[in-house]
Symmetry: C2
Subunit: 377 residues, 2 copies
């Protein structure tokens, strides 16, 4: 695999791009919060859910602590472009490309390790919605690894290292591969239905403190953490593609070309939900953006979505959609009311189907010498 027929070596492409190489860029790994939440989204993401396996001679709590210790050390090294301890492919570690690894605990694991009383009340599976078509193979999990970077080779190596080191004590439950536009390609995030996605988000520290980061008032150990709800939303491309453009724009409430609300000209314009023409609302009340609009100040959450496009099952053309990764202090107050409204009457529902759902306590950050979950365990 490594070499073969020889003529000459072609390195002109490498040279042309050397001036702007971003492979060595890093994201800070230590702090009050884990990286990978407030971090500007990287191009690639892998989400892996794991279950803890019963161990002989060691309790589940000790197993969990061992996993988190090991991961903390390797995450810190990999994020800085250094090989993990006992890294068998150390050369693949040298281009971190803004690697972040984010670790979460599923609601189930608190019981399993005898710490049910330490589970934040906010960390619980979200209730079912009428439009859900959940498949067990995309749901739940004791542990979450979210691995993001601007280079897929980096993501593949980091996931290999982190999963290999815990193979004796965990089993993979599901894995989802996601992507956005390439670093440096330009363009807003678009999902594969063609829509500009993620226009409205949380950008300032005050917003993060108010809406995303837990303040420890329920469980002091959880201060600085957040609650992730990740939904796998399949796009029904075959029927979506049959819809004309105007109907699509009315279903979403935004123009497909610019991403502007139907009442505006620019992607960044605020939608005017009161505007009407001949007595008919310009943005239909059952359009996606009208229903997603917060009714109360806390009906907001951080969205960090990724596209997926997997090999389809036999007889199908496409298996694509959105890995809708969201982060908030309390899904029950922030995520659930919005989703309930959307489930009830979102015009988009005909063309999107939620097939997976999981909730994770994203652990507070860690400092050099500490490990993830230290305040819990």
């Amino acid at each position: 695999m490594a070499a073969g027929a020889t003529l000459t070596t072609c390195s002109s492409v490498d040279k042309a791009t050397a001036a702007r190489d971003f492979g060595t860029e890093t994201e800070p790994v230590h702090g009050a919060h884990q990286a990978g939440v407030a971090t500007p989204p990287q191009t690639h993401a892998v989400f892996v859910a794991l279950d803890l396996l019963p161990q002989q001679g060691r309790g589940p709590r000790e197993t969990l602590e061992a996993v988190l210790r090991l991961w903390s050390s390797d995450i810190a090294r990999l994020a800085e472009g250094r090989p993990a301890l006992a890294d068998t492919e150390p050369e693949l570690a040298h281009l971190p490309a803004r690697l972040t690894v984010t670790v979460g605990l599923g609601p189930s694991v608190f019981d399993r390790v005898g710490l049910a009383h330490r589970r934040p009340r906010s960390v619980t599976e979200v209730p079912g919605f009428s439009t859900d078509r959940l498949q067990p193979r995309w749901c739940g999990g004791d542990l979450l690894l979210q691995i993001c970077a601007d280079d897929l080779v980096t993501v593949a190596h980091a996931s290999r290292v982190l999963l290999k080191n815990v193979r004796a004590v965990t089993r993979q439950r599901w894995r989802q591969n996601g992507f956005r536009h390439a670093h440096g390609a330009g363009g807003s995030m678009r999902n594969l239905m063609g829509q500009v996605d993620g226009t409205a988000t949380i950008a300032d520290a005050a917003g993060f403190d108010r809406l995303v980061w837990d303040d420890g008032s329920d469980q002091p150990w959880f201060a600085g953490g957040t609650v992730m709800v990740v939904r796998r939303i399949r796009a029904e491309m075959d029927t979506w593609d049959e819809l004309d453009r105007q109907s699509k724009e009315l279903a979403v409430g935004r123009r497909l070309d610019s991403g502007a609300p139907l009442t505006g000209d620019l992607e960044t314009d605020q939608p005017d939900f009161a505007a009407s023409r001949n007595g008919i609302p310009v943005i239909p009340p059952n359009s996606h953006i009208a229903l997603a609009r917060p009714r109360r100040a806390d009906e907001q959450f951080l969205r960090r979505p990724y596209n997926f496009d997997d090999a389809p099952p036999a007889g199908h053309i496409t298996d694509s959609g959105l890995i809708f990764a969201t982060y908030q202090r309390d899904p029950a107050r922030q995520f659930v009311p919005v989703q309930r409204r959307l489930a009830q009457s979102d015009a988009l529902n005909e063309w999107i189907t939620t097939v997976g759902s999981a909730t994770f306590a994203i652990l507070p950050g860690f400092r050099p010498g500490e490990h993830l979950g230290q305040a819990l365990l």
Copy 2:
């Protein structure tokens, strides 16, 4: 999916990278050869093999011609950053990111369309090798679509459009997703075993004419085409990772850190297969590069490999390896002798397993107003 909770819009990342956006870069689509062979490899590739379905009221030859006409038109538009005809997500077409689409015909299709006498002798499945562990689900196919770009959103959109338009007359046989380092990340191509890969390749026009492009001497219609052999090679990472570095380097014949041959200092240094130390060859005779080295001038071919890293089957950690895409005038003279040598005694064999194989006649290029396969049909 398109919008939701609103605070402010974060566009600092977009602005910072605007100066170097490469999304609008294009590769020439028309000419004597199809794009995607001599093109410097893009970051992402999707390889899709399709079978022609029997049609009522239309012969297979007419069906094939209709597919190739449709694809030619859409490929030309998409490669230039314009939406395909009847593109239902036209906004996804605006960042071609060096998109190339390359079309091939499997050996079987010539019989199926009644053109067995027009099949180039070079276009035939390669013989089995002793180390093959082929799975039918990764083998063969009537038609190949190879879609490459530096942005995965572009690849997803192009594959959707091109596959959707032929869904009534084809069935997907297999699909493989591949990747290399991100555009602009820096670094040589490395496979997921950690090896620098693709050091030696064919870079000049004379080499391409001699080794890659068909000259039409067998089948005049095929002049300007080439023969692709694509092999899916699984890396046995679990056992590979147990090997110490020196053993790995002896198996490959190159250093893992620099990619230099064991007799040199730089990746680009020519290996010295005659060098020995204390009577023992420095590069072992059964190392990968020693066996891959051409014994005759025509034992060379263009390699354009991509990594794969898919969700593993239950109980496994990783399903990764190499999509070994090769292009040559005649696999029997160029590819087969090298692979036969490797199958016999390559030290790497213990850690790599070929699970898929397919051969395709990559059609000659086309000019504006023409369509792919015009000289054949």
